[in-house]
């Protein structure tokens, strides 16, 4: 009974406390913070490179705090359309950028290409299916993991297989697709399944293969490869337009490009 009383007391205090007029809060703090905080939405494949660029940008701009949201480009696009507060958007594909331009979230002429990225085939270190070349991807019974068609890298991988049809025969792509055991929801999942040795092969960006250990790589000739170009742009309604522009400029500068190169990304061209 005593316990019930004290619980009721707590509840009553809580409820009446809610009705009390709010104490006058200091209004200055949030304003000061928003001028030095930047929210960057970036494709999952940029995780390592952008984290390092963010640290070096923060070091060069004392008091600035950059927060990253890394996810599949499509998810980021949806999040921004649903009102997520982003200052800068870096996509693995122009398609998401175009959708945001159409929706008025990004100015028509704002996007700039920040890097290029190509595809590679990855194998577990012990190469359980004994793959020797690209043509072996069609070997019956191979366990191949791709990113889903909805994800840019998954779309590029299928485009690349289309182009290989010309080289290895018109049914090559169908044979390869028949070997797919899983369509993962992002490129890091493809990487993980191959690293763990659960899949015999996967197709990822060259940049993902650089960041990973315990892998064998089969290169794809440039003329048959799909070269992805990543666009970046500040958002129109960013509260920190100036800082957002500075961050984009920093990534395009030689310093930013060196860091991107270190993580396996190609130059802008």
């Amino acid at each position: 009974m005593k316990r019930l009383q004290s619980l009721t007391l707590l509840l009553v205090l809580f409820l009446t406390g809610c009705k009390a007029p709010p104490p006058s809060a200091p209004a200055a703090a949030p304003v000061a913070q928003s001028s030095s905080a930047l929210m960057v939405f970036a494709a999952a494949s940029l995780t390592d490179a952008f984290t390092e660029i963010g640290e070096s940008f923060e070091a060069a701009h004392p008091g600035v705090k950059i927060t990253f949201n890394f996810a599949g480009s499509q998810s980021l696009q949806t999040q921004i359309q649903e009102g997520a507060p982003a200052d800068v958007f870096a996509s693995a594909n122009m398609q998401e950028m175009d959708a945001l331009i159409a929706g008025g979230f990004i100015a028509q002429d704002a996007p700039q290409i920040l890097l290029s990225n190509k595809l590679v085939v990855i194998l577990p270190a012990n190469n359980p299916a004994a793959l020797e070349n690209l043509q072996d991807l069609a070997k019956p019974g191979l366990k191949l993991v791709l990113a889903a068609e909805e994800v840019p890298v998954g779309r590029y991988a299928r485009q690349m297989l289309d182009q290989l049809n010309g080289q290895f025969g018109s049914d090559f792509k169908d044979k390869v697709i028949a070997n797919v055991v899983s369509n993962e929801d992002n490129v890091r999942q493809v990487l993980a399944k191959v690293q763990l040795g659960e899949a015999d092969a996967g197709i990822v960006y060259a940049s993902d293969a650089v960041a990973a250990t315990d892998l064998q790589i089969i290169e794809i000739p440039d003329e048959l490869n799909v070269i992805a170009k990543y666009p970046i742009a500040p958002l129109s309604n960013s509260a920190n337009a100036e800082l957002a522009a500075q961050f984009v400029a920093y990534i395009l500068s030689p310093e930013g490009q060196v860091i991107l190169g270190k993580w396996g990304f190609g130059p802008i061209e």
């Binding site: 509840l11 009553v12 998810s75 949806t78 889903a148 797919v180 993962e184 929801d185 763990l196």
Partner: protein, 268 residues
């Protein structure tokens, strides 16, 4: 001071102390679901909901979650019975082991399953001798669902068996019943309600399983792509598909809950 609160409690308005917090929580449950349904109607709901991909995903979800529930009932009932009625060493450790999957994030479950039963996992080579490779198969979906959802059945069934009067058990012993007769003729019928409601919870939890499945079983239409996975990928492609599939899953869950609730009431 104490008198004041007594008076407050006795006053008829004191019932609001219960109603208000309850309403807040109910609103948290109801509002997002209502928003989901409202938003989905403005899109091409029917086109998305009756696509081939949605049908495959629904079918796979229903089949795998039913198998999971069956396996759980067969293997979980004896376990719950032992935990409720028998005395043995290290019982509390076994109980903690059973409760762990409930509190662990499903991604941990998926990773653990992969590390244990994956091709390169701890027991992978042993399974390989028999030509079994679990990841990327429908069997892996069932294993992931069972790992995550079975403890809910065991919990409910254990409570059901525990609540049965000790005197009934003693009376059965006096009549000369053995363990099996005691179970089938006394315990099982009396705990039936708890078993059914445990099975419902396990079924619906299995239907919604996502995290462990995508890590352990992967995602392939018709083989391992269950409803929650199709919804997640729908979110990547277009919000309309994700919304439509979500509404289908909510509807299926409500229908399942209604049917099983009816069954439960008839037994009781």
């Amino acid at each position: 001071m104490q008198k004041f609160f007594h008076r407050l409690l006795n006053h008829s308005s004191s019932k609001w102390i219960f109603i208000l917090p309850a309403a807040f929580l109910l609103a948290l449950f109801a509002l997002p679901l209502a928003a989901l349904i409202l938003r989905s109607f403005s899109n091409d709901f029917l086109i998305h909901a009756f696509s081939e991909q949605a049908f495959h995903a629904l079918q796979l979800s229903l089949v795998t979650s039913s198998i999971t529930t069956g396996i759980t009932a067969i293997f979980g009932t004896p376990l719950a019975y032992m935990l409720a009625r028998w005395r043995f060493k290290h019982k509390s450790w076994i109980e903690i082991l059973i409760d762990l999957p409930i509190v662990l994030p499903p991604s941990v479950a998926g990773l653990a399953l992969l590390i244990a039963f994956g091709r390169q996992g701890l027991f992978g080579p042993a399974l390989g001798i028999f030509g079994i490779s679990l990841p990327f198969t429908t069997a892996a979906v069932v294993i992931a669902q069972t790992f995550v959802a079975a403890p809910l059945f065991i919990r409910s069934a254990r409570i059901g068996f525990t609540e049965i009067d000790m005197q009934l058990e003693e009376a059965a012993h006096v009549e000369g019943a053995n363990q099996w007769q005691l179970f089938t003729e006394v315990m099982f019928p009396l705990a039936g309600r708890a078993l059914v409601s445990g099975a419902i919870i396990t079924w619906t939890r299995a239907l919604g399983e996502f995290g462990a499945t995508i890590l352990f079983a992967g995602n392939l239409e018709g083989v391992t792509q269950t409803m929650p996975m199709a919804i997640y990928l729908g979110f990547e492609r277009s919000l309309g598909t994700a919304l439509a599939l979500s509404v289908v899953l909510v509807t299926v869950s409500v229908v399942l809950l209604l049917i099983t609730r009816k069954l439960e009431n008839r037994e009781g």
